[in-house]
Every structure is written in structure tokens, then in C-alpha cells.
Subunit: 260 residues, 2 copies
């Protein structure tokens, strides 16, 4: 099978990891678009692609246009691309939170390729293990997109817009909210002149445990034990932090409800 020709629109974290993975896997990324010419050039240089900064320069003959731009920009970027590209162009976005329908007014052949991971520019990620969730507006386009996705990752799933939104919501709980709990832990230690290094192995092990076990079966702590003495002591320790006291109570009640 001939390698598809890809244009990546965006030069943020997702674009950066996705485009470099595609290039490393021997896929041909032809162009990188970013309104910021420096960003376009930085990423394009890394993967031997052409940097472009105006939509008029878009290659009109690519097989896939991959939109890795902010959620809020997807609709307007798609509209601008629609003015330039032929009706046969296949355009996919990479957003967990955005329904496919945002692309449908502009392209008949559209889809979603959502890599479910948190990407940072300065951290390498093993892309072969990143789950990729796929959806296409037209059934005929699915096999081609799946073929492309399987070049990028071993973990490819068909997930429609409705389920993908719940998935993205669940990701907010286990990523954004979890990270905020890490911040709370760090702040409590900092107030007591204790180094955050004290909590790092625990955080690591807590995440490692649920790679093999359902999290509900791994629940420990005073709430699930019904240890009122410890919970009372903890609430007292949080007297000067009413917000955290409320959060502590909320979690303790929720854990007890969930497990009894």
C-alpha cells in the first residue's frame, strides 16, 4: 500500500508528537501549517516537511489533513481550509472534546483521530502505547484511517463522538483532577517544609497498581476502612483550609458510599 500523504495543521504539543511519530514510522508528512512561521518551521524542519503559514499554500492533493489545533479553533480553521481544498479532501481533527459534527459542514470526508495522552514538548512518550480513538463520517473512510492509525500506535479503537466525549470527561478526572490533587499534596508538604520527593514514590505506585487491577479493588485509606479517628484528625488538621476540608469530606463520603 502506498504511504498516505499527510498535512499537519498546528504546531502545538499534539501536532509535535503526532507529526514526529508519523515521520519516524516512515509516513510522509508533506506540510506543517502554523500561523506562526517560526513554529511551523521548527516542527517542519524536524520532520523534513514544508512549513506553511497561509492556507493558500496548502497542498490540495494530500490524503489526510490532520487538525491538531485548539478545540476552539477547529471550526474556523476547517472553514478556511474548506475554501481552499477540493470536496474530496479528507480532514480529521485530534480533539477528545469536540464532536465530529464540527467538521461536517466543511468536508464530507471527515473524521477524528484522537490520541488519548497528555503531551508535553519536553517529554518523550512511547507513542506505540498511546490509545488512538477513531471515527469517520463515512464508513468507507474508516479502513484507510485505521491503517494510518495503526502505523502510529498498537492501540487503536473505534469510538464515536458521544462515547469520545465521555472518554474525554473521564480523562479530565484521572488526569487534570488527579494532577490537582498532586498539587494539593505538594502544597501541604511545602507548608510544613517537607520535600515533595516524600510523595513521589507513592504517586508512582498508586498509578502502577491500576495497570493490572481495577481501581475500585485497590482502594485503601481511612475512608474505606471506616476509620473515624483518623478522619476526624485529618479534618482537624485542615481547619485552616476550609476548601480542602470540604474536599476531604466529599471524597471520604464518596468512597464510603462507593464501597458499602
Amino acid at each position: 500500500m502506498i504511504s498516505p500523504r499527510i498535512v499537519v495543521v498546528g504546531a502545538g504539543n499534539v501536532a509535535w508528537h503526532l507529526a514526529r511519530r508519523a515521520h519516524a514510522q516512515g509516513l510522509s508528512v508533506e506540510q506543517v501549517f502554523s500561523r506562526d512561521p517560526v513554529k511551523a518551521s521548527n516542527l517542519a524542519t524536524a520532520i523534513a516537511a514544508q512549513p506553511i503559514s497561509v492556507f493558500d499554500d496548502l497542498d490540495v492533493q494530500a490524503d489526510y489533513y490532520v487538525l491538531a489545533v485548539s478545540d476552539a479553533a477547529i471550526g474556523s480553521v476547517a472553514a478556511k481550509m474548506g475554501e481552499r481544498l477540493p470536496p474530496s479532501a479528507c480532514v480529521v481533527h485530534t480533539s477528545g472534546a469536540t464532536p465530529l459534527s464540527v467538521l461536517q459542514p466543511h468536508f464530507e470526508r471527515c473524521g477524528v483521530l484522537y490520541p488519548l495522552q497528555t503531551f508535553s514538548k519536553n517529554r518523550e512518550v512511547d507513542f506505540s502505547k498511546v490509545p488512538i480513538c477513531l471515527e469517520t463520517a463515512q464508513k468507507e473512510d474508516y479502513p484507510g484511517l485505521e491503517h494510518l492509525a495503526r502505523r502510529l500506535s498498537d492501540q487503536v479503537y473505534a469510538v464515536d463522538s458521544e462515547k469520545r466525549q465521555t472518554l474525554h470527561l473521564a480523562a479530565v478526572f484521572v488526569n487534570n483532577f488527579v494532577n490537582h490533587l498532586y498539587s494539593i499534596g505538594a502544597a501541604l508538604l511545602n507548608e510544613n517544609d517537607l520535600p515533595f520527593a516524600l510523595l513521589q514514590p507513592l504517586i508512582q505506585e498508586t498509578a502502577a497498581k491500576i495497570q493490572d487491577h481495577a481501581p475500585a479493588t485497590m482502594q485503601t485509606g481511612p475512608a474505606v476502612r471506616g476509620d473515624q479517628v483518623t478522619m476526624e484528625r485529618h479534618r482537624a488538621l485542615l481547619n485552616t483550609h476550609p476548601d480542602l476540608q470540604q474536599l476531604y469530606q466529599f471524597f471520604s463520603t464518596a468512597i464510603q458510599k462507593h464501597h458499602h
Copy 2:
């Protein structure tokens, strides 16, 4: 320096990991006490120690008595041991949540050796990286206990009872509450017939990121971006889960407050 003679009281997860680590490091664990003779025997056999099930059988000449029993039992177990052991006995507990003062009515020479990790019997942990928090009632006892702890782990910290309680509270946030967020994520996926495997790499990477970076600097997601559209969509998705909707709102507000 002569290896200290150790008696481990308890045969639960902490006792299991601690005693096996001590044995593997060439320390001599003489006895394992558990009221349940089978449990005492299982652990004692693994480390070539004597299993005992009544306090009358306690070796009265050990250098350290390590109490790895439930928080609620520490006081009563110490009282019973106090009837048997000489006043010179050095007794330490291993609890994060329990002040040293629980031991002080029973022993002059007492302390705390708190390994800050979540232990499961069926999971091996790299004990050399487990932070151990130490405290002794008498300053003279600290160097000896520190020497013992450094045989067990490379990460040894002096942490007094007050700070240790805050540390334990912080551990509840980053371990117990985080695990509950994992459970929520798993439940949301389960309702949509999506496999939990979709979230596992994200969970892993979220925990890995904060090994090198302060968690507050790693915060991502709709709340910190102020992305009202996505947050509104998420709240709507949680209409049938008022508890989760409330939790979602709580975290979103807290994250925005923390970062603006």
C-alpha cells in the same frame, strides 16, 4: 557495627514488606508476632524467623520491636508488650497517622519508622526508594534507628509527629483520593462499554510527569485554560450523576482559583 536484633509485631502488608526487606538486607529478624498463628508462621518462614502468637513468648532482649499493626491496635498492643518487656526495650511503630505519644506511656525508648508507600502483598516494591520517616522520643536513640533505616532504604528523613500527620494527610490526597478518581474514570468508561485500558497510559504519564516537575506547573485541561464551552459540555454529560457534577464543579473552581 553488630546487626541489631529485630522483632516484628504484625503480619499484614507493612510487616510483610518490611520484614522481608530487613531479612534481604542481612538484618536479623528474630521473631514475627501475630495473634493469628498461620499468618505469623507464613511470614516467619519466609525470613527464617521464629513465629510467635502470645506476648509471653516475646524475646525480651531484642534491640528493636517494630509494631506494624493497625493504627487502632497500636496503643493496646504496646500496653501488652509493656507488661512483658524490660523498661530498656526500644519500640517503634510504623504508622503515618499515629503520634509517637501513643507509645510513650509504655516505653521510654520509643520511636516511629514510617515507610511512606502503599503496600500490597502481591506486588513487589523497590524498598530502596521507599521514603522512611523517623522520629525518636529520646535524641540518643535517633542515630541507631537511622542506621537501621538506612539498611532498608536510601530515602531516610527525620519527621516529627506533627509533620508526619500532615504528610499522612497529603498521602491520603495523592493516593486514596487519586485512586477514587481512577475508580470514577473506570466507572464512566464502563457505562459506555469502553475498556479501562484506554485511560491507563494517561494515568501512568500523569504520575510520571510530576517525578521531575512541580505538579502545579503541569496542570492542563479545560479549567486551567478557562475553556467554558468544554466545561459546560462536561457538566451536561454528568446530568445523571449529580455527585460527579458537584465534584467536577468543585475541582474546576479550585483549579481556576489556584492558577489565576
